[in-house]
Symmetry: C2
């Protein structure tokens, strides 16, 4: 089996890294962590990497707009999607102090601002603990590991604890257990339509009443499931929009998808087909 080069954001234990490990679990892979989303797109577009993973939406925080813009600007293909369950745990260095005593004396917790925000209930209950924002959860875990201070903790994934030799002081400190991040897998090569059941497109419509509905009606008239619609501003045309649409189909509808895309072209101003792929599953809901 050929080794696949996979690129994603962050260091070992980042949520993107975990998503890469889950999605490519049956493959022989070579992992390339990078520092920003743009590098992921560049490496895939140039062929330097075979695949990249980009988060596009979190079920609590909403869409990751930078990546929607990058999808429009680059010549890449969407070839898959993956839903990663986000669990947030309180991690610290190994210590003989019992967990409950340690919690009472904990001075500071570091993490990504979204992870701190999504653990607000924990901080209200333990209101003596100072919060500090870190650029990413895995980096915060590494920082705690390096500092060797038992009264310092990070909020990060369970896997991050293993990677940086930390212990879980308190499990599941997040407020809301329904926390998922959707990743798109982007590739240098296009997937074939026939092995897919989902498609992502970007389109524009004329700035006229009813023109968005006319485009979406192509899907609903054909009983095609509109999974998600997202709008992004067009630079230089204030308050006109690009529409990002994901739609999926049942096995028996597969034959007409090509025609539906042709019909969409006739009912929009421009269409960019990002790619065809197999829809991912949300586990343990």
């Amino acid at each position: 089996m050929d080794t696949k080069k996979i690129t994603y954001l962050g260091i070992d234990g980042s949520y993107s890294h975990l998503a890469a490990l889950e999605y490519f679990k049956d493959d022989d892979i070579n992992l390339i962590g990078v520092k920003n989303f743009n590098q992921i797109f560049e490496k895939v577009q140039s062929g330097e990497a075979d695949y990249g993973l980009v988060p596009v939406e979190n079920s609590l925080a909403g869409s990751v707009y930078d990546n929607y813009d990058l999808l429009f600007e680059h010549d890449i293909n969407v070839v898959g999607e993956h839903y990663l369950k986000i669990d947030l745990h309180l991690l610290g260095i190994d210590s003989e102090m019992p967990h409950d005593i340690r919690l009472q004396h904990l001075s500071k917790v570091v993490s990504h601002y979204k992870a701190l925000e999504q653990s607000e209930g924990f901080f209200q209950k333990h209101n003596w603990i100072h919060k500090e924002i870190y650029s990413d959860t895995a980096g915060a875990a590494k920082f705690v590991s390096d500092q060797k201070d038992p009264l310092l903790a990070a909020i990060a994934s369970r896997q991050t604890a293993d990677i940086y030799g930390l212990k879980i002081i308190k499990e599941s400190v997040h407020d809301n257990p329904h926390n998922f991040t959707r990743f798109l897998i982007i590739g240098y090569k296009k997937n074939e339509l026939k092995n897919s059941n989902k498609c992502s497109i970007i389109f524009t419509v004329l700035h006229l009443p009813g023109s968005l509905v006319m485009a979406l009606k192509v899907l609903s008239d054909n009983k095609i499931n509109l999974v998600k619609i997202e709008s992004r501003p067009i630079h230089g045309k204030p308050f006109e929009y690009l529409f990002y649409v994901d739609f999926s189909w049942d096995h028996e509808q597969a034959d007409k998808v090509h025609d539906i895309l042709q019909e969409l072209k006739q009912n929009t101003q421009t269409v960019k087909i990002l790619g065809y792929y197999k829809s991912g599953a949300i586990a343990n809901l």
Copy 2:
């Protein structure tokens, strides 16, 4: 004329402050700057303020999602909208140094990260200048004024220069001149439908193929202009959405808006009418 109490984000010279001055230019007003968006909603909901201004969208950066969430969570009314043109200028303290010499020796520019990002061309041309992120543009201007260092500058509005006694070193350092921010004006009291030509609503639909189109078709079948659609995740229901829709109508359509809203109720799961108002104008496009 009664004095109106108006609340908005930031200190004197913030873009929200400028929007308040423009929108209420003919009124006797008492301005109350606050530190976060939530306080604006709280003050209007409690009746402590008559009106509040909240930015919901920038033509380059996209939507301000925090405010979409706050609109859903609070019992307030949308009573107006205002488009503010965003011009970014390079401001410094008064100095005898000629502007071109000063630019060549400038060591640091402070501003909000979006303003720095939207002036990328300027920084590429003047690549010796160090960028530093500040929480807001008006605060950055005040900081430059306080520091009294002629080689330190801020990127902020023209009005901010007047307020903090700064000079414009270089005009219009932004990359894109089509830069507008749309503000919603929220109020304690509801506007009447008859004096309005635009409406903002939030709705949910059943998680079934075609259900979003069924709702939007109510507008298009009635030749009503769908101005904007935005989706936000529903917490606790991963990958189900609240839809925020703005629509406007012509004078001769005004009589049927009430019936259209009834029809929308029958074609959605839930509808929250945020309010009726007069549409704002985008100046100098």
